[in-house]
Symmetry: C2
Subunit: 261 residues, 2 copies
Amino acid sequence: MIGIFDSGIGGLTVVKAITERIPGYDIIYFGDTARTPYGNKSPETVIEYAVQDTTFLLNNGAKIIVMACNTASSVAFDIIEKRFDAPVFEVITPAAELALESSRKMAIGVIGTRATVKSGIYEKKIKALNPGARIYSVACPLLVPLVEEGWIDRPETAMIVKKYLHPLKVRQIDTLILGCTHYPLLKHVIQRKIGKRINIIDSSTGVAGKVEKFLKERPDIDSLLSKNGKTRIFVSDVTDQFAKTARVTLKQNVLLEHVKI
Amino acid sequence: MIGIFDSGIGGLTVVKAITERIPGYDIIYFGDTARTPYGNKSPETVIEYAVQDTTFLLNNGAKIIVMACNTASSVAFDIIEKRFDAPVFEVITPAAELALESSRKMAIGVIGTRATVKSGIYEKKIKALNPGARIYSVACPLLVPLVEEGWIDRPETAMIVKKYLHPLKVRQIDTLILGCTHYPLLKHVIQRKIGKRINIIDSSTGVAGKVEKFLKERPDIDSLLSKNGKTRIFVSDVTDQFAKTARVTLKQNVLLEHVKI
């Protein structure tokens, strides 16, 4: 199976992107809802959680790992990749590449959690590909709780988005990376506030292309993956609100299976 | 020592209330910042965490336990009290009593996390004391992240507070319980939006009086408590933001000691 994990429910945007891009593959998802969110916690703590999440997925049949969480991708990818034998994918590099393809002025904005922005990972990745690019990052810690509360089309959310995006507007970026799996649910609000000419890059879609390309190049690994079109969603805590957010994200009814890790 | 725990940093409002009410007692505090917040998680998960938090405090010298967290008090108090020998205090009952003393119309509002409100604990406690009282509860899940971000005096916060309080305003309450240790930091905003004639009951202050009374009645237990005026603050995760919130709450510099539980 393709194993995908996230700090909570938001990573289901990556499940959606992968099942749309390469339908038929069986997916096992783990959302760490008992300890969500990761984005305001320290790198050490996020690394510890990411190791546990990965171990759970591998122990339950995953043959490749997708870190759907930007925060975990930012601070834990190198360690996860070294520590485990399975191929590991993160959401940062594909988003950085898509942003560079899209940007004409090479002026790119990034919004993410406090931990993601503090890690400076998007700057590093983008500068490694194009040292001349200018990158402006803003931490938007309140957007995750707003999405999790379902406050998508509320005026308060629009005000908060506007306030967060202000420093990027004055920098005249032409491309904006949504560096958190929760943010695609706010894309229409973000587009309205940043301006309709700005290209918005969704970090959940880039990684799906990477996985597709990898599986084409590596039939040996592709053959390890079962293809019955089944998705199982495990979470470390179940509440009505988590179930509701999952339903909104995947646009279908979902069964959340509770597991302790 | 007096052991106090909370889901995170907010419970330091209880530390402050206790050190002001009965100065000199040594305090050991545990804030579960690696898994914060508790308020949007299930009762089962919060109970598990509360048992671990209590065990940590007792293993490190606490002789009495104060559950500074409204969410934990709501869903885990009965289990904690049964499971451990030490005296255990929660923040709900004292706040309910203060509210009944303060209310003339016996129309009381309660704001809290989703888990606290869903538990119905304030209704139960208040109705047990006065079956004629009317209680109206509203879950305000965004207030904890707003406080943790330090968005205290922002217009967005005032708008969100106003929206949450609207159903209580139309009920013509005369008393409002702040059923979450984070909310006292927003008290001035809440007072402005709910109206200056409404009595606001802070759940962190009531419990301090309970502890004082108990220790006067039980010199055998009081004698077990060391009194060097020292407070040690342990947290399961350390970040700059947690340290900043702790400083704002206690209005002094604090050392956060990292511990894994």
